[in-house]
Subunit: 211 residues, 2 copies
Amino acid sequence: MRLRKIKNAKEKLEEYNRIIKFEPLEMKGNWKQYFNNDNPIYLEIGMGKGKFITDNALKNPSINFVGCEISESIMLKAARNIDPLTIKNLLLINVNASSLNDIFDKNEISKIFLNFSDPWPKNKHAKRRLTSEDYLNIYRNILIDQGIIEVKTDNRNLFEYSLIKFNEFKFKYIELSLNLHQVENEDIITTEYEEKFKRLGNIIYYIKVEI
Amino acid sequence: MRLRKIKNAKEKLEEYNRIIKFEPLEMKGNWKQYFNNDNPIYLEIGMGKGKFITDNALKNPSINFVGCEISESIMLKAARNIDPLTIKNLLLINVNASSLNDIFDKNEISKIFLNFSDPWPKNKHAKRRLTSEDYLNIYRNILIDQGIIEVKTDNRNLFEYSLIKFNEFKFKYIELSLNLHQVENEDIITTEYEEKFKRLGNIIYYIKVEI
């Protein structure tokens, strides 16, 4: 949990119905219609307070973005920061990643971002990691051919695990860094976590794969 | 170059003809006969002063080891440390790794070790890295089916490059560590370099792949 639970978050979320989609199951296969264009759709799973996806949406108006977050309190925090009049290419969904097959059709997504995902360090919880087999099968289903997955994390064990799983699934490594911020690069859009870890001098790992 | 060049190293090497094989081309396809047993053969490419391979040979008498080193001076240093009466399962060859196809037959090697190889940091020298395509093709040729390659290095760029190349060649990741010595493990046989880097607190990267 990244921030204190907000009381009645679920009810409070309803105010933000211009940015949050509450019936995502109805959207399956219809996302392009919702965005009202044919632009590719990028999905961030576990968007947290939304800095990364909002910055991305502002910087890339010809791409549509969907931010997925399971926690209502965190989702509320993100929604409060987004002005739907300014950002028309961004939509949020408050769902569990394991249900993504019910929300997106085959080939509906072009790229998936997994930023600083929960590492679930215990082996008995490995299945909950967002790069475990069941999730990779979901991603393979909703991504286009040669779709992209990008992972950033400061958790070494999660990164090692992800490299092994991507290799096992024969995903093609496109780009890899075992110390992303060694060289300052203005083009890298960061998350809230990442800014903190950069300041602390933590190593941040990065990989981009093609399915 | 890891140590000062020794004068007349080539001639001095000849004293060590019980441990160094000077006509390795004649050995192709005949290595098991030389070792006089059917044990698997493990090859270290760039063995340096030989601590790793000697420790390995002593610890694993039912495996044969071949140490390859291109520098005559370093080879001499290694040969001086090995007692051929005590260590019968180890042989050295003073050759360039690019000639390994001429020295080993298909399927003659079970495992290859690449320890702290020269990183060749410049892009224009990438072909000289021991995990570049031409070398991986050689390894694939001389290794048995499901043969193993193990890499240890403290060089981040070389390691990133190697991960990408192994993935490209569809080698299967068996084990991976982005900080090998975080937990002290007595079973890890170290090189001279590694001992120094451990003391300095450098990160050591490790991967074991199956071809």
